[in-house]
């Protein structure tokens, strides 16, 4: 008390005791009073100890002040967004920690545009799903779109602006750019060139046009290395103008595809895959089944579409031209060429012509994007002749803002660069120094450019040759827009602020040209549509207005509100409803015969070569994406490499046949027109003879730590005339060998035999199916057989939920999207080529591939079978686990308890499907910080030494269960969608509760074609397959000993087919099970 009173010496009052301080001047004075003190202590006994505290108010404030100041220092890091950062004063309603949010956005790659919904966990995008409402997606996506997420988190992504490879601030680049632009203002931009990839973004196109308006002599060049240049050229030849073809596969009874991989590549392929598969489902008793469409495929390389074709022939590119011509001639089109189809395929051509004529107006004739323009012209002519236009296809404007002959413009640009005519070159995206054909020396031309700047996600080959490199924002980090294949305006909405503060979007970079430094990409996109939305909606030809700022009229506020509403709606949906193109009337005006005369003649000798973008890493832009590198490529099953792909017969001629699976692959040297590359020779059955396929995108030097040095660069063989196919190639042995990591062995002669013997994939023709719908059933698929067992099932699965899956083999195209989706959803680690070579790939789902027929026959049939954990009711894996780490849930899911697993691998040994995957080493990256952001927080990241496998996406089941239980109801059918099911463009995978008789999966399990893989083992798989039904043309397939005698038996339910245990294609011996 005394020191207290001493401290309160400010008080001038005498210290003599006073009876009652009636008046006091300060609180300190009052507190100094012992009585008051005592009263305080009495009133607040808990706080009594504070009364004598040495920490006085001043001191306290001093310390607090310093603390706040220091805390504030930590907030001084620069944040790329100029928005404000404050903690939530009022937490937004929709953000609940642990619950993901989905935002609509758009992924575009050249002309391919797909609307997506991106799953976001607390602001971190973790999974890309298709946008169910978007016309190019309908809820599905493809493998590349799935994997685009990983690129966002790629630690090798470029993070800083660089000048000659050294980090510099972006402002320094702007200074250089402005100097250059000041010069160009004088010469109206004569030496200014902007190089982009194909632009389908109206806002970007508009921005570019504004730049061109400011610099009238400048040029904008587009170069999309694997774009649709030839298809565009074909349309121009045919109609005199650029148009885009829109297909209606659901209306086509007969589809003839000439090297057109329309189910797996090209604009709108995800949508088309769904449209096409709608006519390909064999469902018992439905009329639609009888009207299944028929697909003829003529391919000169490996395509996914070929695997689902009813008739597939594999021919050399030169033969393909002859076949196309012969079909056209057969249909009565004057091509100016005699019909000379290869003798072996005369019957095929004849049948195709007959079938097309029989389905005139309901057929579709397609030519692949990499076929010569004249063939596209031919296809337009054939479709016109058949009256398909307006029925199964129609023509519209192009989604490209400025369709041009990119190849010619690019060559001209490079020529100008070499001539020194290009002073300033701004490259927005792409990697032309790598993707340019061998006879276009883009990198060399860059040396003559005074100021070359490259906006790119990676510091790649092109960046290395440019003065300036500007890191690009990932599509999930910046605003943009795009027009889908059908013209639908789609908005690219960012999910996350740029991970690296210096990254720029093309829109932001172009804003610098227009002296609009402060514009964010959001403002640019928003302003653009604010100006042009009404104009687009008016239905007239869409020409964005270039003029000035937004006009604010009398009803300015009202207009704003109107736009705001519409814009918000568009952002929410991800696309602008009703913005699709309307069909345009076009007339065939070109001279077909003239065009056909330009078709290349094959060299008299040597091999023909087919160049194609890689099915996984495309033109090389995904070379550093581990998910795609490790995904087995459709048909070749190759990972981490490209190869010189040849047929078995050609392989034997070249002497590149390996004697056994463990042998390395021989390296061959391919020479085309004096240019040479070396690559491993890979034999793939079903490839045309005397033809080599080489995929682009490999042999990268500056892709990043994942993609560097993988494969060889096939671009080095491509020239103007050999862009997509070449002839006269010579192949020589080098004596070298290398290892290729294939996940399924091709060259097992036994495999073909074993497949037929074992009936793993069951198939029949449509006629056989209609006469005997039960053809796929064996006695083991009979529910009655289940009762014939000594073992009682451990659980009664008739109560509650019983999860099950059905895979429709008829529509699976083997596109591998499910593999990547599963990888993304379930945090599946990438193991690398060395580990894949040791057969340790971790994918929980794989697409098995079986050939039927003579391996030397290029036209042999292929069958695909996605295999994931089958969730056996009597699971052999569970029995043998000594620590009960793998157990069965009451709902029938075979569960893994990672924490419990000690890693005996006994379960994997005992799994008949070989779907269990073991973490032999520490595969998951626990250290790279940026990779942690992208993981699915609902799924454990597995450590070394534990087993893992498909869980039927149990995290999604449980998320749905929580919702259902909150509402006190059962989980509805379709409420749980597994990652593989969601992504599947053909909806080949159906998941649900088989105890719910009305669920889709329960219905499909009743299909007569439903069978269990290895059902004879009595493991009772929960995943079953719908057998494949091919709608073959009777003229091309000799009738098998059809099961006509079996016709006329019961319905689809499994119980009433007692006497047909010898289906049409199941010959002879059944496995007698264990």
């Amino acid at each position: 008390m005394t020191d207290h009173s001493a401290r309160s010496s400010v008080s001038p009052m005498p210290t003599t005791p006073q009876p009652e301080p009636a008046h006091w001047r300060g609180i300190e004075r009052l507190l100094a009073d012992p009585e008051a003190q005592a009263a305080l202590v009495e009133a607040f006994p808990r706080q009594a100890s504070l009364l004598g505290d040495a920490l006085d108010r001043r001191h306290f404030l001093k310390i607090m002040g310093a603390s706040f100041g220091l805390a504030g220092l930590t907030a001084c890091s620069a944040y790329p967004d100029d928005g404000k950062i404050v903690p939530y004063v009022k937490a937004p309603e929709e953000i609940v920690p642990g619950k993901p949010l989905f935002y609509a956005s758009t992924f575009s790659m050249g002309e391919q545009v797909i609307g997506v919904l991106v799953e976001s966990h607390m602001g971190r995008p973790t999974k890309i799903e298709g946008n169910p409402d978007h016309p190019a997606s309908l809820g599905a996506t493809d493998a590349l779109t799935q994997a685009a997420l990983l690129t966002l988190y790629d630690p090798d992504r470029s993070q800083t602006t660089r000048y000659y490879g050294d980090a510099r601030p972006y402002e320094m680049f702007l200074r250089d750019l402005r100097k250059a632009l000041d010069r160009h203002r004088a010469d109206q931009g004569a030496g200014l060139r902007i190089l982009t990839e194909t632009v389908v973004s109206p806002a970007l196109g508009f921005q570019l046009q504004r730049v061109l308006a400011a610099f009238p002599k400048a040029k904008w060049v587009q170069y999309e290395p694997c774009g649709r240049n030839l298809a565009r050229a074909g349309a121009k030849l045919a109609f005199g103008r650029y148009v885009a073809s829109q297909y209606r596969f659901e209306a086509a009874d007969v589809v003839v595809a000439l090297d057109a991989d329309f189910l797996a590549a090209g604009p709108g392929h995800v949508r088309y895959a769904q449209d096409f598969s709608r006519r390909r489902r064999a469902r018992f008793g439905q009329d639609a089944t009888k009207q299944m469409s028929r697909l003829y495929m003529v391919e000169c390389t490996l395509t996914s579409t070929g695997t689902v074709a009813d008739h597939r022939i594999a021919v050399r590119p030169s033969e393909l031209i002859e076949i196309a011509n012969a079909i056209a001639v057969g249909l009565g089109i004057a091509t100016g060429r005699p019909a000379q189809p290869p003798a072996a395929h005369a019957k095929f051509v004849e049948t195709v012509v007959k079938d097309l004529q029989a389905h005139a107006g309901k057929s579709l004739f397609l030519v692949g994007d990499y076929q010569p323009a004249a063939l596209h012209f031919l296809a337009h002519a054939i479709n016109a002749k058949l009256g398909n236009v307006g029925q199964t296809l129609f023509y519209t404007d192009t989604p490209e803002v400025a369709p041009t002959d990119q190849e010619a413009e690019f060559r001209q640009l490079v020529a100008e660069m070499h001539a020194g005519a290009v002073e300033t070159l701004i490259i927005l995206g792409g990697n032309p120094a790598y993707t340019a054909p061998a006879d276009v020396d883009f990198a060399g031309g860059l040396q003559k450019v005074k100021l070359a700047a490259h906006l790119s996600l990676y510091f790649d080959e092109t960046s290395a040759h440019c003065h300036w490199h500007i890191p690009a924002s990932h599509f999930l980090e910046c605003w943009g827009d795009a027009r889908a294949h059908d013209g639908t305006v789609s908005v690219q909405q960012p999910l996350i602020a740029p991970l690296y503060r210096e990254t720029k979007s093309p829109l932001e970079l172009l804003a610098a040209f227009l002296e609009e430094f402060n514009q964010s990409s959001e403002e640019i996109v928003r302003n653009f549509w604010q100006r042009n939305l009404a104009q687009l909606k008016s239905g007239k030809a869409f020409t964005p207005s270039v003029s000035g700022p937004v006009r604010i009229g009398r009803n300015a506020v009202g207009l704003q509100d109107e736009f705001e509403k519409q814009w918000r709606r568009t952002l929410h949906d991800g696309y602008l409803a009703g913005s699709a193109f309307t069909p345009v009337e076009v007339q065939l005006t070109g001279a077909l015969a003239e065009a056909m005369a330009t078709l290349p003649k094959p060299a008299p000798s040597g091999f023909e070569v087919v160049f194609r973008p890689d099915p996984m890493i495309y033109d090389g832009r995904f070379a550093n994406n581990g998910w795609l590198q490790e995904t087995p490529k459709p048909r070749s099953k190759l990972t981490w490499d490209n190869a010189v792909i040849v047929s078995p017969r050609t392989g034997a001629e070249l002497g590149v046949v390996r004697k056994h699976d463990t042998e390395p692959y021989p390296v061959v040297e391919v020479e085309v027109g004096g240019r040479r590359v070396r690559g491993a020779a890979l034999i793939v059955p079903g490839h045309p003879d005397n033809t080599l396929t080489m995929h682009l995108g490999y042999g990268r030097e500056r892709a990043g730590s994942v993609g560097n040095g993988a494969g060889f660069n096939a671009n080095l063989l491509r020239t103007a005339e050999n862009l997509w196919m070449a002839s006269g190639a010579k192949v020589s042995q080098t004596g070298e060998t290398t290892r290729l990591a294939c996940t399924q062995m091709h060259w097992e002669i036994e495999a073909a035999g074993a497949f037929r013997r074992r009936q793993l994939v069951r198939e029949a023709t449509l006629t056989e199916y209609l006469s005997d719908p039960q053809f796929a059933r064996t006695e083991f698929d009979d529910p009655k057989a289940r009762k014939l067992t000594l073992f009682e099932p451990p659980d009664d699965y008739t109560q509650g939920y019983a999860w099950g899956m059905v895979v429709d083999l008829n529509v699976c195209t083997g596109c591998q999207a499910c593999v990547v989706a599963c990888t993304a959803e379930n945090n599946i680690p990438i193991v690398g080529k060395a580990e894949v070579l040791r057969e340790r790939e971790m994918h929980w789902i794989r697409i098995d591939q079986y050939y039927a027929g003579d391996p030397n026959d290029p036209n042999l049939a292929l069958h695909l079978q996605p295999v994931m954990c089958q969730h056996c009711e009597m699971a052999p894996c569970e029995l043998v686990c000594p620590v009960a780490a793998t157990t069965h849930s009451p709902e029938g899911i075979n569960e893994m308890t990672y924490n419990r697993c000690v890693g005996t691998k006994y379960c994997a040994n005992n799994c008949p499907y070989k779907v269990r995957r073991f973490n032999f080493l520490h595969y998951s990256d626990y250290d790279t910080p940026v990779l942690k952001l992208g993981r699915n927080p609902d799924v454990t990241v597995r450590t070394r030494g534990v087993m893992e496998k498909c869980t039927y996406c149990i995290q999604r089941i449980n998320a749905a269960r929580i919702e259902a239980e909150k509402e006190d109801r059962r989980i509805l059918d379709g409420e749980v969608i597994t990652a593989c099911q969601a992504v599947c463009p053909t909806q080949a995978i159906i998941f649900g509760d088989i105890n719910d008789p009305n669920s889709q999966v329960a219905q499909l399990r009743k299909e007569p074609t439903n069978y269990g893989l290895l059902a004879e083992l009595n493991v009772r798989p929960r995943t079953t397959y719908l057998a494949k039904v091919r709608n073959v043309h009777p003229d091309l397939v000799p009738a098998r000993q059809a099961a006509s005698s079996h016709s006329g038996h019961g319905g689809p339910s499994g119980d009433n087919h007692p006497d047909n245990s010898t289906p049409a294609t199941t010959t002879g011996s059944h496995a007698s099970g264990h």
């Binding site: 074992r758 419990r900 000690v902 691998k905 030494g945 496995a1071």
Partner: protein, 468 residues
């Protein structure tokens, strides 16, 4: 051989080969056997042998260290072939151990006197082989630090007991029981000899150590009585283990559904194979040791011949099983089984199957000849063949069955890596290191039991071996 006279029993009327050399007395037996440890000391030959073994043992420790650091991925196993060298070596080593138990337990109960001179050695071999074998089930785990999950213990996971339906769990108990009973049996048998060693040792340290482990053995009649009783009881306990351990190891395969594993005749087949491999290993080790320590008096040609005969018999049993395996494949009418047989004979691993037939069926047929049976060189060579053959047999059963199972898409290949081989060869170093230490530190032939073979022996040497 129900003969009353011990001496006669050593003079089998058929072979006329003695089971103990002439002119031996209690003293000479003690003298000769204990001198190997006590008088001879550390010889140059032993040092070289031990040194090499120890270096190989160190290689094993290196290999294990790297394995624990990196994970089982350093081996050649993969998603198709989940078990490789680890389980091959486990089964191989545990099989080798079986001969020791058979010799010490079953032959004792069957009054096969000739077992006496080799039983100590064979039992030691059993223990060391089990020690080598026991490494693998732990090391082959993905997370070996959780190996204790396989034992019942109170824990917070609500799983006091592991999953007893798994044959691996049965293995845990079979092998640990086997190891502990074998150890006790071996040690009990050693007690009288340890006392002899205590009494004969010169140095204070040796006297103390031997004295400690001889548990105060004085050779009194009461001691002998109790010793004999417990020895017989332990022999009785060990006898079923000879059959049970490898039966249960065979369940690891037979209980699964993999063609080539799932077969009802696996238990007898595996037991026969184990005894076959074990006797071959005893021969492989006995022949050089007998030569190095001039023990022809104790380990006579008769012993070698008898072991050769057992090898021949069990070898033919194994051969029968191989033929039955092929027959079952065909007779099952099951295409997977048929394919399995086809794949063994003509698949990529056919040379291993041929090697297995040559080593395990053809090689032992030479033992029909008495001349070969009595020729140590031949015996040694054949026993080496059998050891290799039995390793190949496990390779064929495990790897060749797994690499091509039901779905052709799940077919793969397998090959051991550097770390597989270093661990495998390293365990041989471990085994030999222990064996060299055993030879150097303990009487490798049971002195007390050898004395019982002498004429006039009543089963209890006078005042124990100690005072002679």
């Amino acid at each position: 051989m129900p003969e009353s006279n011990v001496f006669e029993s050593s003079q089998s009327p058929t072979s006329r080969l003695p089971i103990i050399g002439p002119g031996h007395t209690y003293a000479s037996i003690n003298e000769k056997i204990s001198a190997i440890v006590l008088q001879r000391g550390t010889t140059f030959g032993w040092l070289v042998g031990f040194g090499i073994s120890f270096m190989i043992f160190m290689m094993m420790l290196g290999s294990i260290s790297y394995l624990l650091y990196k994970g089982v991925g350093v081996w050649g196993i993969n998603n198709r072939v989940g078990w490789g060298f680890d389980i091959i070596n486990f089964v191989w080593w545990i099989g080798i151990g079986h001969a020791g138990t058979l010799i010490s337990a079953i032959l004792l109960l069957l009054h096969q006197k000739w077992r006496t001179s080799i039983n100590r050695f064979a039992e030691a071999m059993t223990l060391f082989a089990v020690a080598c074998a026991a490494l693998f089930p732990v090391l082959h785990l993905g997370r070996p630090w959780y190996a204790y999950f396989l034992f019942p213990y109170p824990n917070t996971m609500g799983m006091y007991f592991p999953q007893f339906r798994s044959p691996l769990e049965w293995d845990v108990f079979a092998v640990s029981t086997y190891a502990s009973v074998s150890l006790v049996f071996w040690y009990v048998g050693l007690i009288p000899d340890l006392a002899t060693m205590r009494d004969r040792a010169r140095s204070w340290f040796a006297k103390t150590v031997y004295g400690f482990f001889s548990l105060g053995w004085r050779g009194s009649a009461r001691h002998w009585h109790r010793y004999e009783s417990i020895y017989l009881i332990l022999a009785g306990l060990s006898t079923p283990l000879v059959l049970s351990v490898h039966t249960i190891v065979s369940f690891d395969f037979a209980v699964s559904i993999i063609p080539g594993w799932h077969a009802t005749f696996f238990p007898p087949y595996f037991v026969a194979g184990a005894i076959y491999a074990g006797f071959a290993m005893v021969l492989t080790l006995t022949i050089p040791v007998r030569w190095a320590y001039s023990l022809e008096d104790f380990i006579t040609d008769k012993h070698l011949e008898n072991m050769g005969l057992i090898t021949l018999v069990t070898g033919n049993m194994v051969g029968y099983a191989y033929i039955m395996e092929l027959f079952y494949g065909w007779y099952s009418a099951n295409e997977y089984e048929q394919f399995m047989v086809h794949n063994r004979l003509f698949g990529p691993y056919w040379p291993l199957y041929v090697g297995l037939i040559v080593c395990n069926i053809i090689a032992p047929q030479f033992l029909w000849s008495k001349r070969i049976r009595r020729n140590t060189w031949w015996l040694f060579a054949i026993s080496m063949f059998v050891s290799v053959g039995m390793w190949l047999e496990r390779y064929v059963i495990i790897v060749v069955s797994l690499h091509r199972t039901f779905l052709p898409s799940g077919w793969g290949t397998y090959a051991g890596t550097f770390w597989d081989w270093t661990l495998y060869i390293g365990t041989m170093g471990f085994f030999l290191t222990l064996l060299f230490l055993f030879i150097r530190l303990l009487p490798m032939i049971s002195m007390s039991e050898m004395q019982m073979l002498l004429p006039g022996a009543t089963g209890v040497p006078e005042k124990g071996a100690a005072r002679s």
